[in-house]
Subunit: 215 residues, 2 copies
DNA sequence: CGCTAATCTAGAACAAGTTTCAGACTGAGT
DNA sequence: ACTCAGTCTGAAACTTGTTCTAGATTAGCG
């Protein structure tokens, strides 16, 4: 069984994934690449397990051994993409004074990345929110990654100590808003501008939990 | 055949649903009832189209004529339930001074209703967030209903004029948080207490947009 | 009443996610 | 190199959402 639990890898690379041989790691990579490719083309529906298997030169059964369901597969893909995003963001940190502004800008960067590949975004986000309990640990990993990105934006480098519980609540709410706003955008019920407003609105909560300059 | 000839629900005005004969209205009702029953038992997965059809004495093809997909069916169910909730809430309005507190309390009432039937909640919420563009108008209806409930809680009776754009943004963010927090709860990644905190946290945005007492 | 179009029914058929199975392959220990 | 357990493959089977078809029913309407 894949009882896969570990702590977040603070250092870049070196993810403590249960020991895989080189060929297995390569298979896993191929699968994720094929998934990304198919998702980029046609979104959630275009990621068909048979096609992913064929496209990555792996038997269907093997695909299911690596990822026990389509949802698992897409959530893993999201984890992959987020990891990349996180490193990209680390490279060019924002310099704005206001933490709230930095967070909003960071999320808008991520949002622009999604706009570049809306189908891929669709596949990943739909999988993420459709996931049931059987995927909770994987979804949780994605969630922790997202939290890390937001916290990075909030308190750059060695900021003043660990975040307060209040701040963590604010971050959770920001994450909620982020996910849900994405969904409304993906399903065509909200414009890009509206998503921007929502993000900026919710980021005001950060000011609210920052004793230094509340409003 | 249950030729059930009870009087029409006291609901003020049914929406302009394209003219249906009485038998058709009855069929529609049976379908929604069966759906609710099945969803209450086992959540999203337990709502199987063949079972819904059989359970409501309707052919599978007919079911699909009434609701073009499982997602449509569940979103319609949610609309139904929300409508009921809305009326229940109207009957016993909250009296708290603070608008933010009223909204938070209202959402917690709704949340408690969901806790009573977690499977049903699962089915409806999962459908709602999984819905793609083909369901957007129906999802939008649900969204408007939710907004109405929140606005009701915010400005009871004839409050001071229509809400400002800022307030509407806050409401949208609250809705985002509400949906996403529900999902994390349903998938077992957040406790009831945490959902409560998130709701209360996001509701602070209301104070922030209320010029009278911003902290 | 008798006609016509729309609707409904039963059931088969199809699509894609998931499971299963027999046999081939790999790799770690001897 | 030999063997055994675990892994991978190819293919079929199973499940459930969705579509399709032919014939029965129903609702209006002259």
């Amino acid at each position: 069984m894949t009882t896969d639990s570990r702590s977040a890898p603070t250092a870049p690379s070196s993810l403590p994934r249960p020991l895989l041989t080189e060929r297995q790691e390569a298979r896993r990579r191929r699968i994720l690449q094929a998934t990304t490719r198919l998702a980029t083309r046609g979104g959630f529906d275009a990621v068909q397990m048979r096609e992913v298997a064929e496209s990555s030169n792996v038997a269907l059964g093997t695909l299911y051994r690596y990822f026990p369901s389509k949802i698992h597969l897409l959530v893993a893909t999201m984890q992959d993409q987020l990891q990349q995003l996180h490193e990209t963001l680390r490279k060019r940190p924002l310099t704005d004074e206001d933490p709230a502004a930095r967070v909003a800008q960071t999320l808008m960067r991520a949002f622009r990345a999604m706009q570049r590949e809306p189908h891929l975004a669709d596949a990943m986000v739909r999988a993420l929110t459709f996931a049931d309990r059987s995927v909770s640990s994987e979804v949780d990993t994605v969630s922790r990654l997202t939290t890390a990105i937001i916290l990075d934006a909030m308190g750059p480098a060695g900021a003043s100590g660990p975040p307060t519980p209040e701040q963590l609540s604010a971050v959770r709410v920001i994450e909620h808003t982020w996910h849900s706003a994405l969904i409304t955008w993906l399903s065509g019920r909200a414009s890009i501008a509206q998503v921007k407003i929502d993000i900026e609105t919710v980021c005001r909560l950060i000011d609210l939990t920052n004793p230094n300059s509340p409003r």
